[in-house]
Structure formats: C-alpha cells, structure tokens
Amino acid sequence: MIQHDIVIIGGGPAGLAAAAAAKKGGADDILILERDGVLGGILNQCIHNGFGLHTFKEELTGPEYASRFIKIVKELGIPYQLNSMVIDINKEKEITVVSRENGLQVIKAKSIILAMGCRERPRGALNIPGYRPAGIYTAGTAQRLVNIEGHMVGKEVVILGSGDIGLIMARRMTLEGAKVKVVAELMPYSGGLKRNIVQCLDDFGIPLKLSHTVVNIEGKGRVTGITLAEVGPDRKPIPGTEEHYSCDTLLLSCGLIPENELTRNMGVSMNPVTSGPMVNDRLETDTEGVFACGNVLHVHDLVDYVSEEAALAGQNAAKYILYGASKTSGNGADAPRCSADAGICTGGSNGGTESSSAGACVAIRAENGVRYTVPQSLDPAAMAEKITVRFRVADVYKDRSICVYYDGKLISKKKKRVLAPGEMEQVVILKSSLAEYPDLKEITIRTEEES
C-alpha cells in the first residue's frame, strides 16, 4: 500500500494553504489529491475581483489568488495528483482514490486534512413546485458554464437567493448581455456581502426582493416563466401576492452545503448546524490526526479566512506527524476530542474520565443569536498563544454586543452596530486569559442587546 505522512483531500485554497503550512511546519511527506484537472478549487471560476484584500492587501481575481498559492506549493515541491477523486476514507485513514492515470489506489495516511469545499443547494432541496424544464441552474453551475466553458445559459434571468454567487452572477449575466429581471430572497435580509449587493445589483438597477420566493416554475421544455410570491414571517407564501415573471432561466443561489460524505462515512462526528465536522482548537476532528479546514468545515464568504484557517490545520497536522498525538496536548494525555453534541469534550481514546481529562478540554458554546462556533472546543494547556473562534449570527441584529463568558463570567464585550448572517464574525481567545481559570469547563459566545 502507498503511504504518506499527510494526505490533503482537495486542492482548493484550503488544501493549498494547508499543504504549504504543513511543509513549512516541518512535514516532508505530503500529497494533495484533487479531483479536478487543475488546482485552485472553486476560485478558478470566480473571475471577478475581490479576493485577497486581507491576505495580500490588494484586489485579485479568483484565479490570481489561487495562482499565488499554487506557486508556493510548487516552489515548496509539494506533490499533488490531479484528476484524482477520493471515493472513500476509512477509520484507519486508508484513502481510496480513483483516477484515469493511476486507476484505483489505496493510500494509507498518518494524518489527513479534509479540504473538499462545498456544493450548492439544488432546486429539489428547496422543493419548488412546477415543471422540471431545462434552464434551471445553480448559480455556480451557470458560473462554470459562462466563465470557464464560454456558454451563455440564457437571456432572461430570474435569480432565487441572494447568496454571493447569485449576486456575482447577476452582474456577470448582465455584462454578458442577459436581462436579469429580479433577485428574490426568502429571508428578510440578504445572505450575501453588502458590497456585492451594491456592486452587483444596485449599480445595474437589478431589484432585490426580500421575503420573496418562487412558488411555481413554468415551461415543459425550457423555462418560460416563474411566479414569485411574498412570504410571511413563517416563510410561507402569502396568497394574493403572486407576481409572474417571464424568463428562460432560473438561477438558484440558496446556500452552500459542505461536502462531507467522505467525512461522515469515516465516522467523524458532525455539527448539524455547520454541516461540517466538529473540531477542536487545532481544527482536528474527533478522529485523531484528521483535520478539516475551509468550506468543508463551515461555509466561508471570504477566501482570506479560508487560507488563514487552513494554514492552522496544516501546522497542526505537521505537529501531529512530528510529535505524535500525545505531545500536541499539554499533559501527555490523549488528545481531547469533541463529541457529537455541540461543544462537549470527552477524554481520549482510553475513554478519558472526568478526572483524567479535567482541565484538558473546554467546550465553546454558541448561544443567543450565535448559530455556531468553529472550533467547538479548545485545550487550554496545549493551545496556541491565541486562537480565533469564527461564527455566524442567526439573524440581522442592530446594536448588539458580542459577549464572551468563561463559565458564566463575562470576559469581553464588543459592540456591533450591525450583525448579519451573511458576514462571518470572530473573537480571539488568548491563552493568557485562561490562566486564571484552571477549572474552566465552558466558554460561551453570545449576542446581547444594548441596555
């Protein structure tokens, strides 16, 4: 059987940044497996500007951003295998890969970094009634057809969902000569970035209808029209508010789903809110030596954070290879694990009782408007000097604070004028701040209204 120290599944921005960091962290035997014919992941089809403002302090296109990381990976001499689809990973970290060139291979890894990205929510999942004609695309599929294959998907377009990809595609289709009639969003707020609404809709006079959804699709061969209706607070269509739009194309931008079939099949505990694996502060799942980063862990809107997060996963995978599991957690006990129910830690593989792992693992809990956190636990003894906890809020909030509690004691409070589900938030936790709390069980992150 082929063996490698670290195998990275997915060669998108997450996989690339993880690979580079692992190499710099001292790991030598790394392999990236990518099912596509090129590295770079979804960025290859994002030919618009707006990537890398945080990382490189300049505005790059998706392919430009990706090429910077591809260059680093190549310079570091990290091997990668393209057109190679991972179809199975088991508990023993044996990876089954299928490719044209190498046929069916089984690769045994000491450590695995999951970086498979995400996919778009299809029409069926939205259960829109009506016909099933041609001309219904997810925004990302249309983006691929238009930007990479050079085929226009349609001329008169309605977009359901105001996720970033939908917004970007509204502009793209308009620039390509199509008429984008309306963008409808089920929620009372957009799931996309503010700047995308301004630059992609407002600048082109494309209306955004919040609290609206598609209630019927017409057309037996190709889409001929759709019906929009307003929805109430229960998100159910309000009778009498129906409006008809003729169109030949319906694009869906209704959310992204982390691509975790492999993760689930290998028995890793999942977080039902993120649809990604549960991880600790090292971005390690509850299967020792298996790390996750990027959109497979939770959906990101900015690639810069993906790269940052992935670098952390890469560094920790390298540490795992160099020092083994026990050394990465402070007191020599087995690495603490996150269990299936959100944020609860248990001991290591030896069944770690309360006493043996006391203090080794602190749960991070999301509460009161905070939908989830990544990571969901941390290990105060072994953690880095500071860790970034990323999260999203559940609704649009005005004038709220983000509060951090250690076992019920308020530690920090940061005022925010606006919080929105479309923008990822973060708090930083310093290792030094934990010193005074040797028996800490739980860190809680919540929003609170201004008093």
């Binding site: 099912r35 057109n83 689809m85 179809i87 089954t96 299928v98 490719s99 044209r100 060139e101 190498n102 046929g103 069916l104 089984v106 996919r119 778009e120 299809p122 029409r123 069926g124 999942a125 259960n127 009634p129 009506g130 016909y131 099933r132 004609p133 041609a134 001309g135 695309y137 997810t138 990302g140 599929t141 691929r144 057809l145 990479i148 294959e149 085929h151 226009m152 998907v153 349609g154 001329k155 209630v215 019927n216 699709i217 017409e218 037996k220 061969g221 190709r222 269509p237 030949d248 194309t249 079939e261």
Partner: protein, 476 residues
C-alpha cells in the same frame, strides 16, 4: 422517411410499448416503434412509484389481477435476463383503525383468491418489529412478501435495447398525428412522414384514447390523474425497508412510503384529475399533501432531505379497466390503453399477452435466433476494488468520475451514449446511469456531461437538450 411498411407498428415507447416490442421481436415480423420524444421511457413510465405489486388489489378474475400476479412472477427472471435492478423488498398495507379490519381481511382474501403467495395479516406490534419507524397508530397490516421494487427506467430501457438487438426499429422524435384505415391495414401519419403497417399496437399512455377513437366508434376516454412525489436522499433510504401502503379509509386513498431500488426514499403519490396530458407540474398543495399523509404511516420522515419532487400521470380510463386487444370495429388495431397502476408490474405479462395476440392474428412464426439476454451498463462503483482497478486499467475512462454524488464515471456515460439505442439527451443519460440523480441534482456534473454528449454524438453544445426538442440547455 423511407416510407416504411411494417407488419406491426407500435405507438409509444413506454414500458408497455417496449415490452410488446420485445415480445414481438421473438417472431419473424417487421416491427416498428414510434415515439414522439427523443428516448424511450419519457412518459408515465418514468414517473411512478416503481412498485412491483404483489397482486391483491385488482378484482379477482379480472385481467388486471391475472397480469399483475403473472407480471410479478416474471419480473425476477426477466431482471436477470435483461440485467436491470429489481428487488423483492415485500410490502405492507397498514390499517390504523380496528373498524377497518374487515376491509384489510377482504384485501387478504382477494389476494389469496388472486393467487398471491405468502400473504399474512400481522399485528401492529409485529409490523413495528419489522419496520421500527412505523407509526404507533398501526393496529394491523397485510404483509406481502412478493411485493417488489424495480428501476422503471432500467426495465423499460432494457426491454427496448433487447427488442432493438432483435430487429425492432425505433423512430424517435416521431409523433403520430393521424391514423387512416386502408385496404392493407393502416396508414400512420407522423411529423416525419407516413408509415404503412398491417397492424397497430396503441401503447400511447395518456394519449391512447385519441388513437383508439380515430379508428373505433366505441369511444374511450382517458383522464390524466396526476400524482405528486417527493424523493429523499439516500441517507433516508433505510427509513423503511418494505413498501408501506395505507388501507384506503375515511381519510381517502392513501399514499405510500417506499425505498427505491437505488436506496432513496420515495413519498407519494397524490391523485388529482386534470385535463392536460402533458401537465406534469407539481403543486405546493400536492407535495404538502404527500408529505402530510406519509407521516400517518411512518414516523420522523426526514423531509429536510428531499432532493427532488416530480409528478406522473396515470392513464385513468373511465371504466377503470385496462383496454387490451382489438376493438370489435377496428380489425388489426390492438389497444394497450388505460394502463394505469399496476401497469409497470403487469408490463412483462402484458407484453407477452398482446404479442401473442398480434402474432396469432398475423400468423407470425417464432425466430430461431432470438437473443434473450442483454448486458446492462457496468456500474463501476459496485464492483469490487480489484474488479474496478482492472476495469480502469483496461478502459481508463472508468477512472474519471463525472457524477460525484452517484460516483458515475466517464466510461459509464460514454457507454450510455454509444450503446444500441443510446442516450441523446441529459435525461437519457441520467435514466441509464443515474448521473445527476444524486443529492446535488446535477449541479456539478451538468457541464461535463454536456461536453461528453456533444463529443460522442457530434451534437453541437448549443443543441444539447435536457430531454426532447425545445429543452436546450444553452441560450446564447
């Protein structure tokens, strides 16, 4: 059109038309099949519950009952012969009210009289032991071990391919417009020219009444009765293992919950009469009704995992019977009309029944060189690792995965296109290899499948269709 003169002309490439075609291909006669769409299995045969019914539903002594029980028996050997997916997963009819027990008992007795093997009435407890997710309200159930599930596309396509290999000629995108009786038989006018034939088999699904009424004074009338469904992800596929029916009761005709032969979970169908014979649009009410009624049978159906919804049209004939054979006043014209449920289950037996009838009329002799078997498309993902590795070594295109959800390789897609009667549309590929049928519903693989289809067939990208003409994927 090379003004074809056939012995038998079949209208309609659904499961019934294809089954008759295959049976007729055992005889020395020239058989032609005309289908208005671009592929077989484009009508009702593609959108139904896919249940191979045990045979207790139909009235004892009726042709429906006889063909159902016989069709059920034939399905298993046929699945082996023609290499399509079929599974005997058993079925249950649930009774929720002690008051309805006599009706359940009557169903049991009818089944026994129809010759259905192995029927049993079991208690609610026993039913829940077999199916832990059944509702607590179930008081009793009729258990039918011979109930099965089939891939309706697989069945129809397998029949068609085998018929084709044995000499039946298929004309697609060929819509029958008019039928005129002449001295030698019939003249069949289509959008692609005229066809002369001695005999006609009318297997046009919901449209069969129109053709019947062109040649016979004994008019029939078919009402499209729509059924809406929700299909759930494979993760939900184990929610039940048998097909779960509801005993029709005071809440109306029930709906079913069943695994599909590919491991998804199917919930439906509703029953709504309508005029439009192409009206396969689902409605919000229909989908909601299906889901709501399903929860009466089965607990905790994970509706969040719906991956698609669809509707099928039952060809409901006013008299509620299959209309089979020659009308008195139209010699040489054979109906297979009003074939609503259990038409799929009956298909093998009905094909045999009608083909024998036509062959007898035409005094056709059996062929000596009929080839009874057909090999399906290799499912690379289901091979053992060694077999799969060997296959990729021999044919590298099996190493390129195109559909990530269903794990379908380029090799399988190419086979679907290039084999006899190969796919010409995205839906045609999907029905042959399940590309795009998984949870992402073709979001990922559509562009690549379009390219392969274009490359293999020479159809330009701008003309690649989802199904029939007018469903172009690209509009530049």
């Amino acid at each position: 059109m090379e003004n074809a003169k056939s012995d038998v002309l079949i209208i309609g490439g659904g499961v019934i038309g294809c089954s008759i075609a295959r049976e007729l291909s055992k005889y020395q006669c020239r058989t032609i099949l005309l289908e208005k769409d671009e592929d077989v299995c484009s009508g009702t045969s593609k959108a139904n519950s896919a249940i191979v019914h045990a045979g207790y539903d139909a009235k004892t002594g009726s042709l429906k009952a006889k063909l159902n029980v016989q069709g059920n028996l034939m399905m298993e050997p046929l699945a082996k012969e023609l290499d399509f997916d079929f599974k005997r997963n058993a079925s249950m009819v649930l009774c929720f009210d002690k008051e309805d027990m006599p009706a359940l008992q009557a169903l049991y007795e009818r089944g026994v009289a129809n010759g259905v093997p192995g029927l049993k009435i079991i208690s609610g407890e026993e039913a829940r032991q077999m199916e832990p997710n059944l509702s607590d309200e179930v008081v009793s159930a009729l258990y039918a071990p011979t109930g099965g599930i089939v891939c309706p596309f697989g069945l129809t396509i397998a029949l068609a391919e085998n018929a084709f290999e044995n000499g039946v000629e298929f004309f697609f995108n060929t819509k029958v417009l008019e039928i005129v009786k002449n001295e030698n038989g019939y003249l069949v006018k289509t959008n692609r020219g005229d066809f002369e034939t001695t005999y006609i088999v009318n297997a046009a699904g919901v449209y069969a009444d129109e053709f019947h009424n062109m040649v016979s004074e004994k008019k029939i009338h078919i009402t499209p009765r729509r059924g809406d469904y929700c299909l759930l992800d494979k993760e939900a596929g184990n929610h039940v293992s048998a097909t779960i029916f509801q005993l029709p009761g005071k809440y109306g005709k029930g709906i079913l919950v069943t695994p599909t032969v590919h491991g998804n979970l199917l919930v439906g169908p509703t029953a709504i009469d309508q005029e439009d014979k192409d009206g396969t649009a689902t409605t919000a009410e229909g989908l909601a009704e299906a889901c709501e009624k399903a929860t009466k049978s089965v607990k905790n159906v994970p509706f969040r995992q719906v991956i698609t919804s669809f509707a099928g049209l039952r060809a409901h004939e006013d008299n509620n019977e299959f209309v089979l054979g020659e009308p008195e006043d139209a010699e040489g014209f054979f109906d297979a009309a009003g074939i609503e449920s259990p038409g799929l289950s009956c298909a093998p037996a009905m094909g045999l029944y009608l083909a024998e009838m036509v062959a007898e009329k035409g005094k056709f002799e059996k062929k000596a060189d009929f080839k009874a078997t057909r090999k399906g498309i290799v499912k690379a993902a289901e091979l053992s690792r060694e077999e799969r590795a060997a296959l990729i070594k021999e044919k590298p295109e099996y190493g390129t995965i195109i559909c990530r959800c269903e794990n379908i390789s380029e090799g399988e897609i190419v086979d679907a296109i290039t084999r006899p009667l190969g796919a010409r549309s995205l839906d045609g590929i999907k029905r042959r290899v399940r590309q795009g049928m998984g949870r992402c519903q073709a979001g990922f693989c559509t562009p690549r499948t379009m390219e392969i289809l274009s490359r293999e067939t020479g159809i330009p990208m701008e003309q690649i269709c989802k199904n029939s003409n007018g469903s172009e994927m690209i509009r530049g």
